[in-house]
């Protein structure tokens, strides 16, 4: 099956989003000879996986799987990576797309060696979104310890352009006058691997997220447990840095709820069980209570659940938490009805973790078909392919599988 119009392997594919899905789709397409443009909104690749402490199926640190992919990218001239870049508009049609993208000014060029001299002199601070604003970085910052590309970046909204970093840099790596760069990519098909955002916990007004530092989200928990996190990997209560003696996990916080996310976010049950292992590693005696509607531990994860359920200090209560009340000592009381005993449970804990779900990152416009929950629907005729959590809420294993499939569809669509 030869196609006369384009030589094999020359169909350009644009991959939007450089998380684990985008990396997978980009590499799968590139390694069979296609030209791939991989654009990523953040100054680093790796997306949500990079923010995890450990991830399934083997509870590895994210550097484990991601670095192999970074290696593959480094060694493959077919993939061009554009960090800090977003799609502005999509014109044309399948097989002939002109995609206008914009790269935001990083302020740091390829000379950067990550020596940290700039950070030491920078007078300005910014909230660290990578750690869910639980700590701060300077206006010029290293995105995170395993950032790829390992280059610093300047948050232009926090920078006062004082020039101290420029003076401190021995490698002439800093350009404070760098401007946004808009350019057009000609591609035949587009893979949308735009990923997900943690559902905003403030939207569940009965869970009172803003009322206490003792209420965190599961993604915040990942950062608290991660060695590169705000506490250096020690699980401490934000605000007063107390070592928590008791924990409550609030499952389905916003998921399976027609007022919030209508669907099951798929990962939260397993994420909670995983996070209990973080707690156990640091606090062998801590009491953990999980409030759930149903525990969903698909396939072989059943074993993992059994193991954790046999822990004498881990309690499972069937009943959704519908009220959280802060107490004076800095803890919180979570309230649920135990549907097995029929009694209300008021559990006073040092730290409550909301297992917030996955909300697909906004993909409106751009000629995409979006389902009622905000997920991208693959349209092969238009050569618009959904991958990873932009397609559906899924774990990393499923994500990499459907991204490989997406790469295949993108290649097919680009050769039609």
């Amino acid at each position: 099956m030869t196609d006369e119009r384009s030589a094999p392997g020359s169909g350009g594919v644009l991959v939007v989003g450089g998380g684990i899905s985008g990396l997978t789709a980009a590499l799968e397409a590139a390694e069979v000879g296609n030209d791939v443009f991989l654009i990523e909104k953040n100054p680093y690749l790796g997306g949500r996986v990079a923010q995890l402490n450990q991830y399934f199926p083997k509870l590895c640190p994210p550097s484990c799987g991601l670095e192999i992919n970074y290696q593959r990218i480094k060694n493959n001239r077919k993939v061009r990576v554009y960090p800090m870049t977003e799609v502005k508009s999509v014109d044309g049609s399948a097989g002939n797309y002109q995609v206008t993208v914009e790269t935001k000014p990083r302020g740091v060029n390829n000379n950067c060696t990550a020596c940290n001299a700039c950070v030491e002199v920078c007078p300005e601070e910014r909230a660290n979104a990578f750690n869910f604003n639980m700590d701060k970085t300077k206006a010029i910052y290293k995105p995170h310890d395993h950032a790829f590309p390992m280059k610093y970046a300047i948050d232009m909204s926090a920078c006062s352009k004082c020039g101290k970093c420029k003076e401190a840099c021995k490698y002439d790596a800093i350009d404070l006058e760098m401007e946004a760069n808009t350019f057009t990519l000609d591609v035949k098909s587009i893979v949308w691997s735009t990923g997900w955002n943690p559902y905003d916990p403030a939207k569940m007004d009965n869970l009172n997220f803003a009322s206490s530092d003792a209420i965190i989200t599961n993604m915040m928990m990942e950062r608290l447990a991660a060695p590169g996190g705000p506490t250096g990997g020690k699980i401490l209560r934000p605000g007063d840095n107390k070592e928590p003696e008791s924990f409550a996990f609030v499952q389905c916080a916003g998921s399976r709820d027609e007022n919030h996310l209508e669907y099951c976010s798929y990962i939260c049950c397993m994420a909670t069980l995983k996070q209990i292992t973080y707690i156990r590693a640091q606090y062998p005696e801590a009491k953990v209570t999980v409030f759930y509607i149903d525990l969903r531990t698909p396939g072989k994860y059943e074993k993992f659940r059994e193991k954790l359920m046999s822990d004498p200090n881990v309690f499972f209560v069937k009943g959704k938490v519908a009220d959280i009340i802060p107490s004076d000592d800095g803890g919180v009381t979570v309230i649920a009805e135990n549907a097995v005993t029929g009694e209300k449970v008021q559990e006073k804990v040092d730290l409550a973790i909301l297992a917030t779900g996955m909300q697909p990152a906004a993909n409106q416009g751009m000629g995409l078909t979006i389902d009622s929950n905000g997920f991208v629907v693959t349209d092969e005729d238009k050569a618009m392919i959904a991958a990873g959590c932009a397609k559906k809420a899924a774990d990393v294993v499923t994500t990499t599988q459907n991204s490989t499939a997406a790469a295949m569809k993108a290649i097919q669509a680009s050769r039609r």
Partner: protein
Amino acid sequence: MAEGMRVEPDLNFIKFLKNAGGDTLKKCYQCATCSVVCPLSSDDNPFPRKEMISAQWGLKDKLIGDVNVMLCHQCGDCTAYCPRGAKPGDVLGAIRAYAYTHFGFPQGLAKLCSSGKNLPMLIGMPILLIGILFFLANGGMHLPDAESFKEVGFGHFFGHWDLHFLTKNVVFIDAIFLPAVAFALFATFRGVSNMWKEMEKSVNADTTFRPSALQFAKDFLWPSLVEIIQHKRFNECGENKNRVNGHLPLVLAFIGLFIVTNYAFVVKDIIGYFVEGLHGPIALANPIKILANVSAIAMIIGIAILWANRSNQEEKTGASGTFYDWFLIGEIMAVGVTGLGAELLRLAGLVTPAYLLYFMHLVSVFMLFLYMPYTKFAHMAYRTFAMAFEKYRESGFVKQ
């Protein structure tokens, strides 16, 4: 439940609930959010999650003896927070509707009152009854002239005779309404006591020791009545709190009109038998007339607020209106508007329209009384006694 239980669903019960506003019942997936957000649910006896699964399973016997069903004020907090749109508040409302029919006596009348299909009959019966009596008593259409209408008002509605000082009108009014009220009271008493028995059964109450009537009134009933007048529970509602603005004036209006009616009964029907001149309309400046008029206005305003509230609520939640809810709103509105309207037309001296409206007033009041034990109006008795039962359940008579 460890040894398992055999569920025998009552399918007709489920069907009834679905028709009476509980059509969302099966969406519930038992997350128990409702029991926590419900401001009225207690720590030991949270609801409505349990009631939802009982209803799904068609466990009618369990639900009719469930005090929580009656304690629910349908704030709608549970419905607002329900992640599945199962509307527990509406489902409990439907269970109450079922319970009033279930406990209703006689069953035929109770069933008649449970469906909108029977509305023509429900209105037609009193029209026919009062209409026929009107014709019989009056010897056909006999309207007074403007002069005598001004003097006697509706006092000669059912004609006139001189039997001592007891007017023909009083005799007929009493002949219609006293049996209706007595009947309704008896039916309510029967229904409430059956409910009480079911509730006792559901908590496995040991009935060896029972409170005396006085004890019951003092310890359980009176505190409940105080709570009701203060609207304590209504005020705890989050979602639908402004119902108090309608319900409170309405309750006070009913109390006011109860006083006025009793005054009129004693003065006109009893004292009036011996003393002349107590039968014409009461002067507008008379304190009792002022109370009557203020109550009538409060009644119309109160029910109008509840009317608007329910419309808004239905629009907001997309709930379909039920006969159960709207029949009571319609009845009370009719009583208020026809009553006040008849009075105004009388003052204006417009005989024919005044007579017509007065006739409709008699019909609507008759409906309110007679159908009370079977329609939503029954909550007045059932919920009051359920609140008393809640206190009884917590007392030494049940708890050892």
